[in-house]
Symmetry: C2
Subunit: 352 residues, 2 copies
């Protein structure tokens, strides 16, 4: 006997969404950060025709690469093709993706006067292309495959805005933090207010869950995180539409896990530097965890790859609330057949 149609919500009842709520699942859901990316032939073909930012700003193509990756891989969630830095353009920052060098911001923020010149993101209309891509993607995806929206977390965005691009030591970022905490907090607040609007507009457009990428926050000491980051990340997460699961992700965060939990998130991302069992215990079992295979494990032979995936599943020990993922994004040189083998192996080994 099937349930009455009105009670069935294939998205809400999907394995991924159930895991976000720490409900029992028939197998461990898996998706992979940067699953639509350069390692995939279909993606490279699209990118041969246009630049990275241009692709982000062309909803039909952003939707195409999102859907193609999700379908080809057989993952349990799609994530919208976009970039964490898109939101900084409406703030008045000049963003460019230069070939090989990654993102460059031509007018970085270094002091209070620079912060004062930034624009408040009152209206997220400048990011309509993201919402259009989400709508197109949602319409094209299988009706039971959730779509994840996302944004950069305040610290990671601030680090790009202050450094003017990627960084190794975060000298400008931390200097601002240490020498003008007023300007720092003003910058983080401005970013955070924009993020809340941006994430909620992604939800309205059709995202079932959102992820906050604090990719570079592992550069901070726990005390710096508590003082300079936690209040802002916390405000963003608290501002997300109630009922929408938030995944709170970072790398190199083994000493920040308790503080990240305090900042919020239904699911906390773990990288491979911490054992999943130890990390989950420290975060607490009233939150889910996502992770945590080393992306380089996808370069190992099948036997080794499978054994490593099993180790992680064993550490999760079938506890509801585990979403399998890498500890960071798929690397460009990754063999696509190994990615598919991993997804199949996780599904098979975790099936009840």
């Amino acid at each position: 006997m099937s349930e009455p149609a009105s009670l069935v919500d294939p998205l809400r009842d999907s394995v991924f969404m159930r895991a976000c709520r720490r409900e029992a699942v028939p197998f461990t859901p898996i998706w992979l950060m940067r699953q639509a990316g350069r390692y995939m032939q279909e993606y490279r073909e699209v990118r041969a025709r246009l630049g990275f930012l241009e692709l982000c700003k062309t909803p039909a193509l952003a939707a195409e690469v999102t859907v193609t990756a999700a379908e080809r891989l057989g993952v349990d969630a799609a994530i919208i093709f976009a970039d964490i830095l898109l939101i900084i353009e409406p703030m008045g920052l000049e963003l460019e993706f230069s070939k090989g060098e990654g993102p460059v911001i031509h007018n970085p923020v270094r002091n209070a006067a620079d912060v004062a010149r930034l624009r408040e993101v009152d209206d997220v209309g400048a990011l309509d292309f993201v919402f259009a891509a989400i709508k197109e993607t949602r319409a094209a995806l299988r009706s039971n495959l959730p779509l994840i929206g996302f944004a950069g977390a305040p610290f990671t965005l601030a680090s790009y805005i202050v450094e003017g691009g990627a960084s190794k030591n975060y000298v400008h970022t931390k200097s601002l933090m240490y020498n003008d905490s007023g300007a720092w907090h003003a910058l983080m607040s401005l970013i955070s207010r924009g993020l809340i609007k941006y994430l909620n507009a992604q939800v309205v457009a059709g995202a079932q869950a959102v992820q906050l990428f604090d990719s570079w926050v592992g550069a901070l000491s726990p005390d710096d995180y508590r003082e300079f980051v936690l209040p802002h990340t916390s405000a963003v997460i608290a501002g997300v539409t109630p009922g929408v699961p938030v995944i709170h992700f970072g790398t190199g965060t083994s000493t920040l896990l308790e503080l990240q939990r305090a900042a919020g998130g239904d699911v906390i991302g773990l990288d491979w530097r911490v054992r999943l069992d130890e990390g989950w215990q420290r975060i607490g079992y009233d939150r889910g965890v996502m992770g945590n295979l080393d992306p380089v494990a996808l370069f190992a032979n099948r036997e080794h790859l499978r054994a490593r995936a099993k180790l992680i599943l064993d550490q999760a020990s079938g506890r509801p609330g585990h979403i399998f993922n890498l500890g960071h994004g798929i690397l460009p040189e990754t063999p696509v057949e190994n990615v598919i083998a991993l997804i199949d192996a996780v599904h098979e080994m975790s099936s009840k």
Copy 2:
């Protein structure tokens, strides 16, 4: 009444050496990784005349920059000016320091056949310039100022040898590890055997203590560290001349501390990502700790810098066995006057 001259050993009784043995000290000793480096005018003047490798291989000048830095700063230990990669040349690897790009190894090791072609470092005579620099430095230093010798730890050296230079994701290194563990262990054993000879020859030449730099080992999961690194680092440390303190240093190692302790070392280096009190507790109070100020704190105003140094001293709570240092090397743009201010502040605030 003074002690009989024969019982006084000013090096053995120095504050730094006492701290290495976890004996009571009148103040917390401090030295800084890369204290003779590009942030210092005197160093830049020497480097204007010759290349980095050439400087390493010119004992009189290597001694000069070592001694100049130690004297100008007023630190409690000198560290010989050299590079962790010097030992790979006698193994048959072609090393070059290209301007701006850092070290390049022109014939990287990628498989078992490459490993088989490497030369055993039976005779460390090819590194005589290091020992000569140590002798000259020892002769020029104050008689109570200890000199630290050093080497790269097996994993960090292997990562350079396999990648052919610095790396972000260690794809080649981990691929070798995962796909041909026999070749990996053969490479690590070869490096380790050479390191023992090299470190002990530095001791014979006049170093009072040695430091093993496992700078990049934080890229590994705890399980990978245990299987692929620990036995080798352990062999190197066990092979160091008894009675010579070994400092075992890494960055991003918050989840590896217990395993690093197991591998050995009288003093374990901590970076700023872990609180010193928490890190020391996990390592155990029967070992010393070194650290752990964020190098970027040296860009903060004096008040902030002093407060951060005090936080670390407070966390050490006067327990014997703390050597103050940064969590990683001094950055090239660091203001030298802030470095001196830090050293003075640590001496003053920790004086009993």
